[in-house]
C-alpha cells in the first residue's frame, strides 16, 4: 500500500518533483562540462601555446584572435610553419626522424604482438595443453604475470644483452622489447574474444575437411577481427607513449618521440612555444586515434573485465 500511496503523493506534488528533476539535470550537465574542461583544457592550452609569443605567454592570454594574435613562432622553430616548410631545416629532419622511429616501433611491435598473441590466445582458448606441470590456466597466468614486471628490472640486463647482440639503438631491438611489454595485454584481449566465438563453427569446418590451421585462418580470424583491431590499437598507443626503455636503450639512431620531448623539457632555455609545438605534434596522432577509433579502444580496455 505504502509504495503506491507514495507514488501517488509524488505525482500530486507535481511541480516540486519537476523542479527537483530540473536541478538534477543541471547538476549532471554541470559536472559533465566541468570534467570535459578538466580533460580538454591541457590539450587546448598546449595547442594554443604553440601559436603564442613571449608576451602572450607571460600575460596568460588564452583565446586566439581575441586575446592574442596567433603566430607561427613555435612551429617555425620546428621547421613546420608555412614559410619554413619548403626550406632545409635540421630541427625538422630530427623531428621527422624521431616521428618515423616512433611510428615504426609502435606499429611493428603492435603487429608482432597481435600475431603471436592471437595465436597463443586461440590455442589457450581451444586446446588443452600440458607442459610438465603447467596446464592452460598456469600458462595463461605465466603470460599475464609479465604485466607486473616493472621495466626497471629488465632495463639493465637488456642494455647488456642488446650490446652483445648488436641490437642497442636499433628499431628492431625496440620492437622486441615493446612486443614483450604489450603481449600480455594482447593475449588477455584476444582470449576473451575467442571465448565468445562458438566452437561449433570450427567443428563444422573441420568436418568439411579443413585443417585446424585452415579453420583458424578462414573461419575464426574474420570473426575475431574487431578484437584484433582493438588489441592492435591499444598496443600502438602504449608503445607510442613508452618512455622508459626508449630512454635507456636508444641514443642517436632509434630515439623515439617521447625521448626527444623529454630531452627538450630538461633544458631550461627552451621556449614554451616550441615546446608546445613539439608536444602538440607528439600527441596529435593519438588525439586523432582517440576521436575516430574510440569504440575499439573501449572494446580493448573492457575485454575480460566485464562479463
Amino acid at each position: 500500500m505504502s509504495a503506491v500511496a507514495e507514488r501517488q503523493a509524488q505525482r500530486a506534488w507535481g511541480g516540486g518533483y519537476d523542479a527537483a528533476k530540473i536541478s538534477a539535470r543541471v547538476l549532471i550537465y554541470g559536472a559533465l562540462i566541468l570534467w570535459t574542461i578538466i580533460s580538454l583544457f591541457p590539450i587546448y592550452w598546449t595547442l594554443t601555446t604553440s601559436f603564442k609569443t613571449a608576451v602572450n605567454v607571460m600575460q596568460g592570454h588564452l583565446i586566439p584572435w581575441i586575446d592574442f594574435q596567433p603566430n607561427w613562432l613555435g612551429w617555425r622553430s620546428l621547421g613546420l610553419s608555412p614559410d619554413t616548410i619548403g626550406e632545409i631545416s635540421t630541427v625538422r629532419d630530427e623531428f621527422l626522424k624521431r616521428f618515423t622511429n616512433s611510428i615504426i616501433a609502435s606499429l611493428g611491435a603492435a603487429a608482432l604482438a597481435v600475431v603471436i598473441g592471437s595465436l597463443a590466445a586461440y590455442g589457450l582458448s581451444r586446446f588443452d595443453y600440458k607442459f610438465v606441470w603447467m596446464r592452460n590456466k598456469d600458462i595463461s597466468f605465466f603470460f599475464l604475470s609479465q604485466l607486473i614486471l616493472p621495466p626497471v628490472v629488465l632495463a639493465m640486463p637488456f642494455l647488456v644483452l642488446y650490446k652483445e647482440l648488436a641490437l642497442l639503438d636499433t628499431r628492431i631491438g625496440l620492437i622486441l622489447v615493446y612486443t614483450l611489454m604489450v603481449l600480455p595485454i594482447v593475449i588477455w584481449i584476444m582470449r576473451d574474444q575467442f571465448d565468445t566465438i562458438p566452437i561449433e563453427l570450427e567443428q563444422a569446418a573441420l568436418v568439411d575437411g579443413c585443417s585446424v590451421w585452415g579453420a583458424f585462418l578462414r573461419i575464426v580470424i574474420p570473426i575475431a577481427l574487431p578484437g584484433m583491431v582493438a588489441a592492435f590499437i591499444l598496443s600502438v598507443i602504449l608503445c607510442w607513449n613508452e618512455y622508459f626503455f626508449a630512454a635507456l636503450l636508444t641514443s642517436t639512431n632509434a630515439k623515439t618521440l617521447p625521448v626527444m620531448v623529454a630531452s627538450q623539457t630538461g633544458s631550461q632555455g627552451i621556449s614554451w612555444w616550441s615546446m608546445a609545438a613539439l608536444s602538440t605534434a607528439a600527441i596529435a596522432p593519438l588525439v586523432v586515434i582517440g576521436v575516430f577509433l574510440e569504440r575499439y579502444i573501449v572494446k580493448g580496455l573492457t575485454a575480460g573485465a566485464v562479463k
Binding site: 597463443a120 595443453y129 597466468f141 616493472p150 639493465m156 582517440g290 575480460g304
Partner: protein, 372 residues
C-alpha cells in the same frame, strides 16, 4: 570381388603410410637433438671465443640469436612430426612461449648476477663479484626506503582515483544527450604520453610564474602557488597528473560494468520508493563490486610502475618527496651509472611486488570477475 578391391587397396597403402609415419617420428626425434646440439656448439664456441680461448668466432652474439630462432622452429617442426594433429595445436602457443622465455628468463637471471657485482659503467675496472655488499647498502639506503614509502602513498591514492572515476561513470551512464562526445572527451587524457603530459601540465600549466593553474590558484586566494616545492603539495600534484591520465581507464571499466547491469533491478528499487542514495549503496555498488575490484587491482599494478611523470617533472624532488622506486633506480642508472647496485634495488623491488601482488590477488580474487 567388388568389396575385396578397396580392402586390398587399403592394405597396399597401409605399410606405406606406416613407414611414412615412422620416418616422420624418427625425424621428429632427431630434429630437437640435432638443433639443440647445433645451438649448444655455437654458444660454447662463442663463449670460448669471447674468453679468448679460440681465435675464430663472431664479433657479436647475433648469430646465437639466429641459431636460437632456428632451434625454436626445429622444435615446432618436431612437434608436428611426432604428434601430428596435437603437434599442430602446439604450434599456436609455441611462438609466444619461445618469445617470452627468451626475452624474460635470460634477462631476469642475468640481472640476478649483475645485482651481486659492483659494476659501475664509469669505473675502469669492470665488474667484480662483491657478495652481499649491495644488500647491505640497500638496507642502509634512506632514499630507497623513502621511495618505497612513497609507493604506499601512491597506491593508496588509487582509491581516490576510483571514487572520481565511479562518479564519472555514473554521470555517463545517466540519461544524457551527446554521450558519445563526453565519452571521447573523458577518454582523451588516457591516450596522451606521460612525457607530453609532464610538460603540458607539470612544466607549463602548473608553472609558478605564468601557468594558468598557478594564476587560477592566485585568484582563489593562494598567494604562493608553488606546486613542487613542499613535499605534500608536490606529491599531490604528481598524484593529480597521474590521476588525470588514468581516471579514464578506470572509468571505462566501470562504465562497461554499469551498462552490463540489468536495468530492471534499479527500476524495481525506484518503484519500491528507494532514494537514489539508497539504491546506489544497496544495489548498484554491491553489483559493481567485481568490476570495481578488477579495475582497482589493475590500476594498482600499473601504479607500481609509475615513473615517467616523476622523472620528467620533479626528478624525485623536493628532497625525494615524490620519488617512486622506478624513478629512483632510473636516476641511479643514468646519473650515477651504478648498474650493479641499481639492479639489486630493482630485483629487491620485484620480490616485494610479487609478494604484494600475490597477497592482493589472493585477497581480491573472491571479489573479482575472473582470474587470469
Amino acid at each position: 570381388m567388388n568389396t575385396a578391391l578397396p580392402e586390398t587397396a587399403g592394405k597396399v597403402h597401409e605399410p606405406l603410410m606406416r613407414s611414412q609415419a615412422e620416418a616422420n617420428g624418427a625425424w621428429g626425434r632427431i630434429l630437437p637433438w640435432l638443433s639443440s646440439l647445433i645451438l649448444a656448439v655455437i654458444v660454447v664456441w662463442q663463449i670460448l671465443y669471447k674468453a679468448s680461448v679460440i681465435a675464430v668466432g663472431f664479433d657479436t652474439w647475433r648469430p646465437v640469436l639466429y641459431t636460437f630462432i632456428l632451434w625454436a622452429i626445429a622444435i615446432g617442426a618436431a612437434q608436428v612430426l611426432i604428434r601430428g594433429e596435437r603437434g599442430k595445436h602446439a604450434l599456436f602457443i609455441l611462438p609466444a612461449v619461445a618469445f617470452t622465455v627468451a626475452m624474460v628468463i635470460f634477462p631476469t637471471f642475468f640481472g640476478l648476477y649483475i645485482a651481486f657485482t659492483d659494476w659501475n659503467l664509469s669505473s675502469l675496472t669492470g665488474r667484480h663479484f662483491n657478495g652481499l655488499d649491495n644488500v647491505r647498502s640497500l638496507l642502509g639506503d634512506a632514499y630507497f626506503w623513502n621511495a618505497l614509502r612513497n609507493m604506499i602513498y601512491y597506491v593508496l591514492f588509487v582509491l581516490a582515483q576510483y571514487v572520481i572515476a565511479f562518479g564519472l561513470a555514473l554521470l555517463l551512464n545517466a540519461e544524457i544527450k551527446a554521450r558519445k562526445f563526453f565519452r571521447v572527451a573523458f577518454l582523451l587524457p588516457f591516450m596522451l604520453s606521460p612525457v607530453a603530459v609532464s610538460w603540458m601540465i607539470g612544466k607549463s600549466l602548473m608553472e609558478y610564474r605564468f601557468g594558468p593553474a598557478a594564476t587560477l590558484a592566485r585568484h582563489l586566494g593562494w598567494d604562493n602557488p608553488a606546486f613542487f616545492t613542499s613535499p605534500w603539495i608536490a606529491r599531490l600534484s604528481i598524484v593529480a597528473m597521474d590521476a588525470w591520465v588514468w581516471i579514464p581507464f578506470i572509468m571505462i571499466l566501470l562504465l562497461a560494468g554499469l551498462q552490463a547491469m540489468p536495468k530492471e533491478v534499479t527500476e524495481a528499487a525506484k518503484v519500491d520508493g528507494a532514494s537514489p542514495w539508497q539504491s546506489f549503496w544497496q544495489i548498484t555498488f554491491p553489483l559493481m563490486l567485481p568490476v570495481s575490484v578488477t579495475a582497482i587491482v589493475l590500476k594498482i599494478i600499473f601504479q607500481l610502475k609509475l615513473a615517467d611523470i616523476v622523472i620528467n617533472v620533479t626528478a624525485g624532488g623536493p628532497g625525494g618527496a615524490t620519488d617512486t622506486v622506478s624513478s629512483f633506480i632510473f636516476r641511479e642508472y643514468r646519473d650515477r651509472s651504478n648498474v650493479g647496485y641499481g639492479t639489486m634495488l630493482a630485483e629487491f623491488y620485484l620480490v616485494i611486488i610479487i609478494i604484494f601482488v600475490t597477497l592482493l590477488l589472493k585477497f581480491a580474487s573472491r571479489f573479482m570477475q575472473r582470474t587470469t
